[in-house]
């Protein structure tokens, strides 16, 4: 039993069997994380470099913790404190690191496709920790695990993604994953932030009326407004966005059912989600973070297993 792929570049390349394998392995790692010794020696012969060309709190800490819990050796690299400010290319940087006998690379990059490019040129296993506006596979996997824990399964469940669908790698990875696992997906948000042909291209439903969309769903995954990726004005102000698409307690109280609230973080309180919603009992935002470590352990463990013995 192993993954059908050598790298984890995106959910797009995974089969439903791969996804189930990662999720079931993650469940077992969750149990490991409840023990007093939260560590297993599976990857003690593996060295992993965390290459973060873009800022991150959760993902980076989560990956590092996952690596340490598996007994791997880790090296951290952040773009701001490195030689790329001297003009070194991505491939040169990685090749230099690999020549120091590193087995796996966790890469976050602001350019979409950066991990795919690396995968073609280097022998090490690569895990995409978010590339530009393309994919963020481990986030989608941890979201799936969180939904599965809360609702029992993914199949037939109605998942709503709200907000900046256009610039969100979390949205794209989630859509691929949920479609593969038989869930129904709807996207909602300002028309300027929803790609025009998304319905045809990715087989999702589109609903611009936030209230109708919330009434339809079992789970609402609220995405962050990514101001850093917007190079033109797509809505007039954050205040206006909050009034039109921000999820408030009042909006949720107006529904005739209780839905599950998710957010990949970091939260912009008072923009896409109000504080009383983010901190309510309906919200599983912190469970998502907790599941992140287990899911990343599963991904690392399963990919390291694919390594031929040298």
């Amino acid at each position: 039993m192993q993954l059908s792929t050598k790298h984890l570049l995106g959910i797009k390349d995974l089969t439903p069997t791969d996804i189930s394998l990662i999720l079931s392995t993650a469940t077992q790692f969750k149990e490991v994380l409840q023990r007093s010794v939260k560590k297993v020696p599976s990857l003690r012969d593996v060295t992993i470099v965390n290459l973060f060309y873009e800022n991150s709190t959760r993902t980076r800490i989560s990956f590092e913790l996952a690596e340490k819990r598996l007994g791997a050796d880790t090296i951290n690299f952040s773009a701001s404190a490195s030689s790329i400010t001297k003009g070194e290319t991505l491939l040169d940087t990685v090749n230099n690191i690999l020549s120091m006998k590193v087995d796996m690379v966790v890469l976050r990059h602001s350019a979409s496709g950066a991990p795919h490019f690396l995968a073609k040129h280097i022998p090490a296993a690569i895990i995409n920790a978010g590339d530009g506006i393309n994919e963020h596979p481990t986030q989608a996997l941890l979201d799936a695990l969180s939904i599965q824990e809360k609702l029992g399964s993914l199949e037939g469940k109605k998942i709503l993604l709200i907000g900046d669908i256009m610039h969100s790698r979390v949205a794209l990875s989630n859509i691929y994953l949920l479609n593969k696992m038989g869930a129904e997906v709807m996207v909602s948000g300002p028309p300027t932030l929803i790609p025009k042909y998304i319905k045809e291209a990715l087989h999702v439903q589109v609903e611009y009326n936030i209230k109708k969309a919330l009434q339809w769903c079992d789970v609402a995954n609220i995405l962050r407004i990514q101001l850093e990726r917007q190079n033109q004005v797509l809505f007039s102000s954050l205040r206006e966005y909050n009034l039109a698409y921000g999820i408030s307690k009042k909006l949720l109280d107006g529904l005739n059912k209780e839905i599950v609230i998710m957010h990949p973080g970091p939260i912009n309180r008072g923009v896409e989600i109000d504080s009383d919603v983010a901190d309510s009992h309906q919200s599983i935002i912190l469970q998502q973070v907790e599941n992140g470590v287990a899911v990343r352990m599963a991904a690392l463990y399963l990919l390291a297993g694919n390594k031929p013995i040298t």
Binding site: T25, Q28, V32, L70, Y301, G305, I309
Partner: protein
Amino acid sequence: MKTILDKQQLYLAISRLAHQLVENNINLNEIIFIGLQPRGVQVGAKLMECIKQICPNENLQYGVLDITFYRDDVRDELHVANSTHIPFLIEGKTVILIDDVLYTGRTIRAALDALQDFGRAKKVELCVLVDRRFNRELPIQPDYCGKAIDTATYQKVKVEWDKEAVFLY
């Protein structure tokens, strides 16, 4: 294919193991039984049934342990992880590991490692249904053994619960 234990022999062996376990561990409160995933779990469950019949008033502590993440061959072959459930403290207790077939001893080596992460047991013993002697790759021997057999490395021993028998292939 050769039958090593038929149905009657299988249940006699399990019953004997249960009696031996009780005989050597009179104070069952101090004992923690741990079935090893995936196939030791069924042996463990059968043993627990038997021990309950011998000592109906005792509250048995039975957990299951998965050793996938502790294997020494993760690079050669990926194994699917199973659940671990040990809801009691093993600190200072006697732990009895239960598995179906003892072969190279590597599973038990991994189990001993895994057990360390749950605490320091006073004593660890090993109970197996079938012991494939002379194929050991590590210095590990069972304390309780249903049947010891001599096999070649190319052969396979399978405990088949649907047929309630043990076969040599």
